[in-house]
Assembly symmetry: C2
């Protein structure tokens, strides 16, 4: 994944001043501010300071921008499900690893993950993203089931409920976390894992 | 607090068919669907099936509806901060009590709490609500400090961060919890408290 900075403008009129990544970064920012449905290609062109045809040089329309943005967030999260930390060892440790990686991904890809978490299913692209999110939730639920079978979490807990609460905590970070302000990502991941896996209450 | 059902319609034209509570319930539903800024008085009148002047019979405008709705959620949350469970005993137990009560309030006042949590500060009413939310967060932060002083939470944790994570977990429930479907509110509150205070990982 590349960083999302505008490419150098050439100054020549009609020449797109963005590569696809930097164009996507601006589009996602606008989607998050105004909502995807409330963002027209005119608004996008205006914010990018380029013509609509320059946008069409890169993508077929705003739906493709949405698809690319959601794909970036989902791609990063699903990549984490195939890492050794998530696939080897005791299930409770795999679960903890995946929670930690998800916090890191959320922090690194904040605008993309924010967009993903706000998807409501108003189009085919959005419904496909929701289906992928459910797939991820099921993967997490299966890790909880594995951890319960190995005796590492209470057998009384509902795995799907635990998965929801755990990623509810992770996902709630989009509401306030901003990279480079205050809390570092390692401290954040440590705090999330400490609260959810060890609990706040100190044992005596 | 009253339940939010439309009052019996009289059938007489021009006569408001709602009392203030039932009118508010519909308005909050529409605000949550379309966003407050995206909801006009015309849209509200249309959804209520009454004239705008019938709405003005109850309130001065949509801003007052917002204020009443946010006040209902904030009122319930602040009332919980004055209950004996939150003001007496060890701070860790007060904190746990307040988390449990907040889950209950969220479930009982779901549309109102949802509206509150989506406020972004675009008007005086919204900024006042955000200021009250910060006040609540500080109250929670002070409970965490008290618990640390009593040795019940690790002294290494940042109280403000713990407060954010804890209520991030609680607030994330608005994304998926629906009363009367699946999980009961007691089971939900138990699961939230178990994960955040005792941790998922079973001790051997």
């Amino acid at each position: 994944m590349t960083t999302a900075k505008p490419a150098k403008r050439t100054g020549r009129p009609g020449r797109p001043g963005y590569d696809l990544d930097s164009l996507l970064a601006v589009a996602v920012k606008v989607f998050n501010e105004k909502g995807y449905d409330g963002t027209s290609m005119d608004v996008l062109a205006d914010r990018l300071g380029i013509s609509k045809s320059s946008i069409y040089h890169h993508v077929s329309g705003k739906q493709e921008l949405l698809e690319l943005a959601l794909g970036r967030a989902l791609g990063a999260l699903f990549a984490a499900t195939t890492e050794a930390g998530t696939t080897e060892g005791r299930h409770i440790d795999r679960l903890e690893y995946l929670v930690r990686r998800s916090v890191e991904i959320l922090a690194a890809e904040l605008p993309y993950v924010t967009l993903l978490l706000r998807v409501r299913g108003n189009s085919v692209v959005e419904r496909r993203a929701l289906a992928r999110r459910r797939e991820f939730d099921e993967f997490v639920g299966n890790l909880v089931i594995g951890a319960a079978e190995e005796g590492d979490v209470s057998p009384e807990v509902d795995p799907a409920l635990v998965a929801r609460l755990l990623f509810g905590t992770v996902n709630s970070l989009i509401e306030w976390y901003r990279p480079r302000v205050g809390v570092g990502v390692d401290e954040l991941a440590d705090a999330v894992v400490a609260m959810t896996f060890d609990g706040l209450r100190r044992r005596r």
